[in-house]
Amino acid sequence: MNLQNLVKNYKLFIDTSTWMFPDSQNFLSTELPHALLEAKEQIKVPVRIIEEVNRLMTHEKRETRHKAKKAAALLKSYFDHEIARAFGSSSDPFADQTILYVFQQFRVKYNLALITQDRGLALDTLNLNNQHAVQGKRIYVYRINESGAIEEWNPERIKVSLGRDDAPSRPIATTAPVNEKRTSGSHKPESETKPWSQVTRTRPATAGKKPKPNEMFAPGTRVITQKETVMQIGKVPDIGETVYSKVYGALHLQKEVGSGGEGKIFVSNNGMVCKIYKRDRITHERYHKLKRMLEVPIDKPGICWPKDIITNGSSEFVGYIMEVADGKPMQTAMFQKPVLEKNFPKWTRKDLVQLAISILGKIAYLHERNIIIGDLNPLNILIKNEKEVYFVDTDSYQIENYPCPVGTINFTAPTLQGKNFSTFLRTFEDEYFAVSTLVFMILHPGKPPYSQLGGGSPGENIKKMEFPYPCGEKGKGTAPDGPWKYIWSHLPYKLKEALYDTFTGEKRATPEELRDLLVEYRQLISNGKLGDELFPSGHKIPKDKEAIVTCTDRNCTSPTVIVHIDFKEKVEKRGGRFVCDPCKLRRKYEKQMRTMGMPGTSHTTNQRNSGQYPPPRQNNPRPTWVRPQPVASNTGSTQTKPNTATKPRPVQARPQPAARTNPGASTQPKTFLDRAINILKKFQ
């Protein structure tokens, strides 16, 4: 049934879960209103739903609050445009039950339809169709899918999916006793559990049972730990040879497109790709895992899921076949600034955000099916553009009791560092750590979240869980040098908060939460409220948040610096000592010079000076660091601090080229920065 017919001929209800579902934004804010306006129809909104949304706006969970606010805005505009009408009263039962009650009461009289994201409610509502005692009209139940389109709930699929704690964006659990029955304890009722017994229904026969094994995976319970046993096989096929698939027939291995520790990847003559394992990787366990993976068809573009087993001429298992991937690995395509700019010359920050959103969509899809990627990392995601990405090496994913036996340090949660990945099953919480790390490293191209001043090896940094970037008042102040802290400062506050909470161990953000926050970020960039630069050159300081701090280094030549007011407050709290970036750099250089007097160096008697760079001697003047003078202040003593009350000039990053006044001097840069810049130019 198309939308036009639906709104014309049916009384349409929309459940709270759909109002609050991020992916239904487009449907609810454009498609449906247009259809309603054209048909001059109204949707029906139980008062209880409005109340529920209002209440959720003050929910303790940030994510829930955020979604409820969006839902409220939508509802308000529906009422403003008179395309919605409220029914019922506060004395109605809770929202879900109200809907069920209304549907049961009126299905004889009216055509009724419901849009909900809640599997349980969908199934209960559809079950009303099966009550033969009453001859009613057929009820239709829809949902909004991940791509934002309306689709009918398939009762068979719901039954399978029930019993898992993944009803999408379900804001609150339905009330007991209905809830307890239908979800067998997998949904934890949150608060309202007042029984409401007016609606009496039979419990769906299939609900609460385990999902059918050919439609989704069960959560893992115990890791398969036995040692892998190698299959004894004849020939491992190579380029130019023929392999076989029951589904795709005989295939010719035409071109090698990759090789690694596990085996080789070939393009075959049907355009698909075969992974042929090395002899010692062809094991019974791998075969069984692949067989299990094949039982659940994963048909999402960009996820290179095994499509069939590949055998050699003697019908022995040697690998699997999958759809071809496109693009370059994220690690090599975008984790170095010059490479990023070369591969994606048109990208701005908005595209990075979009890329993260695209990737999170695929991760959420896998998670809904109880698939844990495990070894999430920038080498097994290929990037074609910001909307087309390919997940490869899916055969290593954690499926049921088959662990993902590999991992990388940067994407491994603190508690799992140093563990052998094949000896345990990862949890969704473990995966969320990896997902947040990936999002961080997309937004700060290539920089791991725990890299910091005073840091050590990646593993040590992660284990300490000391996240170096600030969030409001909080933060260690050890963000690494370079563009990273500027990028961070330009992120929306809510996103910073979610990442900060994740990396300090407070609360790990879910992929769905991150996706919502990124959608919002994308919006803020589109509106011009946040910067669109890939690598912003300074901190974000809104006009009304500017403040002045003074560098306390006594050799500083231009000590007034404009900073964010929050930063100034932080400095004052810590006792007011502030050292500006150029002075910090100078100090770091001086520190390096001092490390000459290290233990063990005194006996390098052969030391001979090149004469070019005399080693500094103790108590001798250090290399002179000339800094650009603030304009027109060249008569003042460099030791005198300007009065901070006077309006400061922005700190000049570099002096005017000497060439302007004295062309002959251009080859003889006067200041350290000049010289350094000249040298850097040579390498660009």
């Binding site: 090599t332 890299s451 490390t595």
Partner: protein, 227 residues
């Protein structure tokens, strides 16, 4: 030899550290260029170093992670280049000269590594524990006690990986062993520098890639060495 560096060098280095987000693997090559290396050995050594640097340059991930410095000992200790981007380092031409001050060379290498590590830390760059490759065809002509103590201590604390390599029949394996309490020194088969450096570049790639474990997972060594 000059351990201190100029403000210019410091600035370039600093820029590279700030802009490149990769975790680094600092590697110092400490190579014997004393007179006994004259002829085929120095030719093959030059060849090997060249192939090594080229192999790393070809590997996108390794060249963002691996940082090389090169110290030679032949007559005196020379630092051919300090740590930095491999793209702006020139492939050296090594010539032979004089005696074998191995102890001073290793000390110098350790100083360079210490300084590099502190620069990583001061800039907020992650790094893996450094590697040092010591190659000689003979015996030191200076005192190696302190240098050997320093490397041994670092190795025991898992702060350093030493690859001690003997070249030809006259290499003093006992001395090399003193630098490396864990990993036994290896004697190069003939003058197979190329195979060694090939192996080393593969190991660098392995560390800089997918599973950069805290332990160095090196490739099989059958190709180039005999135990």
């Amino acid at each position: 030899m000059s351990l201190p560096f100029s403000p210019e060098e410091f600035m370039i280095s600093k820029q590279e550290l700030e802009l490149n987000p990769s975790s680094r693997v600092p590697i110092c090559l400490v190579l014997d260029t004393s007179y006994s290396m004259n002829g085929e050995p120095i030719k093959e050594l030059n060849n090997g170093v060249k192939l090594f640097m080229e192999a790393i340059r070809r590997d996108d991930i390794a060249c963002a992670s691996a940082e090389l410095s090169l110290v030679t000992f032949g007559g005196e200790v020379k630092q051919l280049f300090d740590f930095g981007s491999i793209h702006r380092q020139t492939i050296p031409h090594l010539a032979v000269e004089g005696v074998t001050p191995m102890g001073a060379a290793v000390n110098h290498a350790l100083d360079l590594l210490e300084r590099r590590k502190s620069m990583y830390s001061d800039s907020g760059v992650d790094y893996f524990q450094p590697w040092i490759v010591i190659m000689t065809d003979g015996a030191p002509t200076d005192d190696i006690t302190i240098a050997a103590q320093r490397t041994s201590e670092l190795v025991s604390n898992k702060k350093l990986t030493v690859f001690p390599i003997g070249i030809g029949p006259h290499a003093d394996m006992t001395t090399l062993h003193q630098f490396s309490p864990k990993r036994r020194p290896l004697r190069l088969k003939g003058l197979r520098f190329v195979e060694f450096f090939e192996w080393l570049s593969k190991s660098v790639s392995a560390v800089s890639q997918s599973t950069p474990g805290e332990k160095v997972k090196t490739e099989a060594v059958d190709d180039w060495a005999e135990l």
